[in-house]
């Protein structure tokens, strides 16, 4: 009896929910459902191609989630869209490339690590490149915060955003001076050979590498934020800066650590992007940064799980769009997702966890 009643009330609640929904949300749901059905049809038609594309999307999405986490961490704590974050990611890929080349400022430290190096050397090279890029980007991010954002802590929010845009252009031009205006190739250190025995579904060593780097980083981050004292302080500052300061939390240091974490993730992501795609360019941070920001908004800005989910979703959406709509339309698709989410669901899919909730008033 009781279970029956429970189901009845639940179904009634669902019906009430549908009745009270707005037309825009109904249209949004219908449109999403339509697109999903179209995708399913494609999936049934060519399951192998679809699965391969899905895997590529998830791997690219994992790289994006790491950048998205940087946006979401910073937004969660000081409500700033750190526009320079994407360019920090670009600097990360350049640092990684420089480490792998073995030559820093014209000073040859060791022979470049290339595809011909032995397997242990290649693994060591990749690990060092990752580590150096993470450290460099983390410190760079902290430095940017100190120089450009900290003096504006009490300034209008859009003034800080403009400063962030300025920093983004400065970093982009540093990249331009560093590696020039053309695409720079990354050494092909990780095999593009398929792991899976069948030829139909493709999952390469490269994809595995991305998973192997991303998952430990995510676990470490969630441990840091969830279980350490400093992580607790970060959550407290994100909730209420004044109250956090009152209970003895060093707010400025906590903000610096947030930027450090974001930068570390961006650095790792930059090196992985280079190794995964084989190229990098001085303005890669602009589009990748916007994609990642879209991911953060899609998941719910300030929400760490949301950033990862959003990143994976954006990765899959862009892979599907590459396959079924056309590569040149992908940016338009992603930016449309960004606009639609901001307009119709500014809280994101999993909910906004930043101090100022929601997009509208």
């Amino acid at each position: 009896m009781t279970t029956g009643e429970a189901t009845k009330t639940r179904s009634a609640a669902v019906i009430d929910g549908i009745k009270s929904s707005t037309w825009s949300s109904r249209i949004a749901v219908a449109l999403t459902a339509f697109l999903l059905v179209m995708l399913l049809v494609r999936a049934v038609q060519e399951p192998a191609l679809f699965t391969s594309q899905l895997l590529i999307g998830l791997t690219n999405g994992a790289i994006l989630s790491l950048i998205a986490l940087g946006y979401t961490l910073v937004y969660g704590i000081i409500e700033l869209i750190n526009f320079a974050h994407g360019d920090n990611f670009m600097i990360g890929s350049f640092v990684g490339l420089t480490v792998l080349s073995g030559t820093i400022f014209g000073l040859g430290l060791f022979a470049p690590i290339t595809i011909n190096s032995g397997a242990p050397l290649r693994i060591l090279g990749v690990l060092i490149a990752l580590f150096v890029a993470m450290a460099a980007c983390g410190l760079l991010n902290v430095g940017i915060e100190r120089v450009a954002y900290k003096p504006l802590r009490n300034a209008p929010r859009l003034a800080v955003l403009i400063t962030a845009i300025g920093m983004s252009f400065i970093l982009q031009n540093v990249g331009l001076v560093w590696k020039g205006p053309i695409q720079v190739p990354f050494p092909e250190l990780i095999s593009s050979a398929n792991i899976l025995p069948s030829d139909a579904i493709i999952f390469r060593w490269k994809d595995l590498f991305v998973v192997l780097v991303t998952v430990p980083l995510l676990v470490a981050l969630s441990y840091f934020i969830g279980s350490t004292k400093q992580g607790k302080a970060m959550r407290a500052v994100a909730q209420d800066k004044d109250a956090a300061a009152m209970v003895g939390i060093n707010v400025n240091r906590t903000i610096s650590i947030t930027f450090l974490l974001g930068g570390i993730l961006a650095g790792a992501s930059g090196v992985m992007y280079g190794l995964f795609n084989g190229i990098t360019i001085f303005n890669v941070g602009f589009t990748q940064g916007l994609y990642a920001f879209t991911a953060a908004v899609l998941g719910g800005i300030g929400n760490l799980t949301g950033a990862v989910v959003g990143g994976l979703l954006i990765g899959v959406i862009s892979a599907m769009s590459d396959q079924y709509i056309g590569t040149s339309w992908t940016p338009i698709v992603i930016f449309s997702v960004l606009i639609l989410v901001l307009v119709f669901r500014p809280r994101g899919l999993l909910g906004d966890r930043s101090a100022v909730q929601g997009g509208g008033e």
Partner: protein, 393 residues
């Protein structure tokens, strides 16, 4: 003194602007410097900056995608004054004539009519884009405008083949756009009958008149009821709403007015440059225009004009000049790195620094608008997340 400031300075500036072509001709004959082309481009940017000033300066909305309206204006002129749509043949008051004497393919309307259409079209687009988005918080709005600013040029790039229909000719762009002109004028005024590439004076006077109209509209809007509504929404949206101002409509007007001037400038630019490509309308242009507004002073009309002139001067004159000096220095000390340096390529490095330094040191700009300066330095303000008042902590 106040009277002098109010009337004498603008009068002198206008007279100098109108006398610029003879001055330039004199300069060309004596020191061989022709500033006509840079002057026209500077004027286009003055117009764009004044358009953005309505959005950023008056209404306090950060628009990072202003280039979208510039691009739309340029494409309107491309569609309505070239042989792009070969399927049809429509001519009305255009300067374009068929070489073979047969029917001229494509749409060829009078440039003056197109200007009005472009302004109306971009204004409408501004309203369509703004209506659903202007409810958003300031920083989200900035990102949405950035999204539109990215989508529109990319759409033009891809729209060479929309289910078989060639809307924009893709990356090749629209070529051979008709020149503006007054075809009804007598043969003796050939330069004005059809604006040519040799005599730039008609081009100059056209953009000068457009700029003056923009300045006039800017001043009138600032001092109007709508202008005061913009200021109040910028300072405190909640209080403004409590006083009976509809914030969304008020912002929408600002956005649409800015779009109109962006579109007009784009239409003029398209006709002047004659060939338009989607790649000329990048995010960098949006930032360049924003940089002009911020350097000069948000909300200050003199300031914005100064900002546009200064930054384009930097682009056209100072950076190439500096480049030559650096090259000469590089040759002198025998450093190939210095003599091969291409400074103008790094102009956005400078713009980035300008944005950061202005925000850190003098957010109100070089020639500040007094009210704006007070808002930007008021640390005790409790509300508002437009570019005034304190961020909600």
């Amino acid at each position: 003194m106040e009277r002098l400031r109010k009337f004498a300075l603008p009068a002198i500036l206008i007279v100098v602007a109108f006398l610029f072509p003879p001055i330039n001709a004199f300069l060309e004959s004596t020191v061989d410097v022709n500033l006509m082309y840079p002057a026209i481009i500077v004027a286009v940017y003055v117009m764009l900056a004044l358009g953005l000033n309505i959005v950023v300066g008056f209404a306090g909305l950060l628009d990072l995608g202003f280039v979208a309206f510039y691009a739309l204006g340029a494409y309107v002129v491309g569609w309505l004054a070239s042989s792009h749509f070969r399927q049809v043949s429509i001519s009305f008051g255009s300067t374009a004539t068929s070489l073979t004497g047969g029917e001229l393919p494509g749409i060829h309307l009078s440039f003056w009519l197109i200007l009005i259409i472009a302004g109306a079209f971009t204004g409408l687009c501004g309203m369509i884009i703004g209506a659903p988005t202007l409810r958003l918080r300031g920083d989200y709005l900035a990102i949405v405008t950035l999204g539109f600013g990215e989508i529109i040029p990319r759409f033009f790039q891809n729209a060479g083949d929309l289910w078989g229909f060639n809307l924009t000719n893709g990356t090749i762009g629209i070529k051979a756009i008709d020149s503006p002109g007054f075809p009804f004028l007598p043969e003796s005024m050939i330069a004005w009958q059809r604006f040519g590439t040799l005599d730039l004076n008609p081009w100059y006077y056209t953009i000068l008149v457009l700029v003056l109209i923009t300045v006039y509209v800017n001043i009138r809007l600032r001092d109007s009821k709508l202008g005061r509504a913009w200021i109040s929404v910028r300072e405190d949206e909640t209080a403004a709403a409590a006083m009976g101002i509809n914030p969304v409509t008020t912002k929408l007007w600002a956005y649409a007015m800015g779009a109109v001037f962006g579109g007009l400038a784009g239409a003029y630019y398209g006709a002047f440059i004659k060939n338009i490509f989607p790649t000329s309308f990048s995010f960098n242009i949006s930032i360049l225009i924003l940089c002009m507004v911020i350097l000069g002073g948000m909300g200050s009309i003199y300031g914005v004009i100064l900002g546009a002139v200064a930054l384009q001067g930097l682009n056209f004159y100072l950076l190439p000049q500096l480049n030559e000096w650096v090259h000469a220095m590089g040759d002198a000390v025998g450093s190939p790195a210095l003599s091969g340096l291409d400074l103008p390529k790094y102009n956005f490095f400078l713009f980035g620094i300008i944005l950061v330094l202005m925000m850190l040191l003098r957010p109100e700009g070089i020639i500040p608008n007094r009210q704006r300066a007070e808002e930007l330095h008021d640390e005790d303000a409790t509300t508002g997340d437009a570019m005034s008042g304190r961020a909600r902590a």
